[in-house]
Amino acid sequence: MTKYLFLYWNPPAPDQQPSPEEMQQMMAQWSGWKEKFADKVADMGDGLQHDGRVLKNGQVTDGPYAEAKEIIGGFSIIQAASYEEALEVARECPITHMPEASIEIREMMGY
């Protein structure tokens, strides 16, 4: 089994926050997804705050996110036999319900 990193890309400043009712729906979708692919979801991962710090050449800046069109909003780790199998899991990921979001799928080196 190979591990794949799912990176969830979102627009940085959603026009509107989800409502409580929508959040409950999303939670149900995530739990449903996790349950359905229990043997494939190695780590549900986490969500990420929109702000951050960048360290480059000894210089620290605030996250470049104000200008970015998309930022990483969260991640999960999936184990699957192939990209095809990982994509099967991704296709049903609740993130796909958000028209502006995308999932980047990267095979992990397994060092």
């Binding site: 409502s19 409580p20 939670m27 996790k34 986490d46 990420l48 909003g73």
Partner: protein, 441 residues
């Protein structure tokens, strides 16, 4: 922010499987949002409303991520209370100049729950009075209540009130700003407003509760004629209101009676397939006796006071609810009550329309039609589908099939719900084929 922090157009299933999937009761997040905002406003001050809303939103988003990944905590409510409060305290600390009164040991680890049930109820009632500030337009009061107290999102409010998202946003931000200014003027007086001030707000509070109930009872949404949870919420607020000395007034009791009477019949308004039924077709055996009993008790309390719109309307519903059959309804009493309402509240074409319907049952369809002919309907009423529906129905009963068909067809075109369209389709069927029709039977 969580994975799902972008709220764009999440499809929300109405017949959701969320309970099974998430282990939470329906609308848990929405109700918790209202409860938390009300509670934090009381503890930390309404002048921090926006910070409080942010803290609550942030706590809910954390729950979405954390519970989705790791399952529910033992007590989700206590979890949210703790996180929301900690977010708020952290923010106030960061801002620095604020020294919240909860500073020592502010990061509550295990709030007692259950013990505060009454307190929470009071928080919410207080919040309702805060939202119903008479300095705000009525619409702003309703929008703020739906947002702060009922936990609806901007889009959800827009859908329910037929407003644009932008409009709701504007109403909310203006409403918050206005409230903030008013609180500043009154120098914290808001927290324990003088009884006289609360008294003045009572009609607005009642109106908001009634609007909320109607929103649930006669929702315009397709395939969801009855949105029970909104009704249940309005009933809950109505009960809170009469239980409090400030709200313990004839009008509040009448409002509560009115809602219980409607609620008693909520199950019988639709048939097994979920199609809307007329009052005359409803199975009275399915009316909730317990709800009618509660309604009658509330009505009795209300009748100790003066006549009001709510009292008149509740008394009419009482006549319907105690009549053993549709035919045995005391239509003459209902006609009198509508007349009383017209005298009390001023002429209202809607009351006249309803009086005509009752009169038609009492003295025959001709009598109803005669009354309607004395009425020149204002444009909005002439375009209202129930105007055509009533005319169509009465004309059908007097055997004037062609004009009946015309009105029923107009009613059918304008009917907002499938349930109502079905009723008009059935009635049209009874009109028989069009006289000029040559095709078919």
């Amino acid at each position: 922010m969580a994975w799902g922090s972008n709220g764009a157009d999440i499809p929300v299933d109405d017949d959701d499987s969320s309970v099974a999937a998430s282990g939470l009761v329906d609308h848990f997040f929405r109700h918790e949002s209202g409860r938390l905002v009300a509670q934090l406003v009381r503890r930390f001050g309404a002048d921090r409303l926006e910070l409080i809303e942010d803290a609550v939103q942030s706590a809910l988003l954390s729950a979405l991520t954390s519970w989705g990944a790791r399952g529910l905590p033992d007590n989700p409510s206590a979890w949210l209370t703790r996180v929301a409060r900690n977010r708020l305290v952290d923010h106030l600390r960061r801002v620095g100049r604020e020294a919240p009164e909860v500073d020592a040991g502010a990061r509550v680890s295990a709030p007692a729950e259950g013990a505060f049930d009454d307190e929470i109820a009071d928080d919410e009632l207080r919040m309702l009075f805060v939202c119903c500030d008479p300095e705000l337009p009525a619409r702003a009061q309703l929008v703020l209540s739906l947002k702060l107290l009922c936990g609806f999102g901007t889009r959800e409010i827009a859908t329910r009130l037929f407003l644009s998202d932008d409009n709701v946003q504007k109403i909310l931000s203006r409403g918050r700003a206005r409230l903030r200014a008013l609180w500043a003027e009154r120098a914290g007086d808001w927290a324990d407003p003088a009884p006289a001030r609360l008294e003045r707000r009572l009609p607005a509070v009642q109106a908001v509760i009634y609007l909320l109930f109607n929103e649930g009872y006669s929702s315009q949404r397709e395939d969801q004629v009855i949105r029970r949870e909104l009704c249940a919420e309005a009933l809950r607020l109505g009960q809170l209101l009469v239980a409090h000395p400030i709200g313990d007034r004839s009008e509040s009791w009448a409002l509560l009676a009115l809602m219980h009477f409607h609620h008693a019949r909520i199950e019988s308004r639709t048939d097994a397939e979920g199609h809307l039924l007329l009052l005359s077709e409803q199975d009275r055996g399915r009316w909730d006796r317990e709800e009618i009993r509660r309604a009658l008790a509330a009505l009795a309390r209300a009748q100790q006071g003066r006549f009001s719109r709510y009292l008149g309307e509740a008394a009419i519903l009482a006549e319907h609810c105690v009549a053993p059959t549709f035919e045995q309804t005391r239509w003459s009493e209902i006609v009198d009550l509508y007349e009383l309402l017209e005298q009390h509240c001023g002429p209202s074409p809607l009351y006249t329309l309803n009086r005509a319907i009752a009169l038609a049952e009492w003295q025959g369809p001709e009598a109803g039609l005669t009354l309607l002919r004395t009425l020149t309907p204002p444009t909005w009423l002439a375009r209202y589908y129930l105007w055509d529906a009533t005319l169509g129905e009465l004309l059908l009963r007097t055997g004037q099939l062609d004009p009946a068909r015309r009105h029923l067809e107009r009613a059918l075109r304008a009917a907002p719900t499938r349930g109502e369209r079905r009723i008009f389709e059935r009635r049209l069927g009874e009109c028989g084929p069009r006289a000029t029709t040559t095709r078919g039977s």
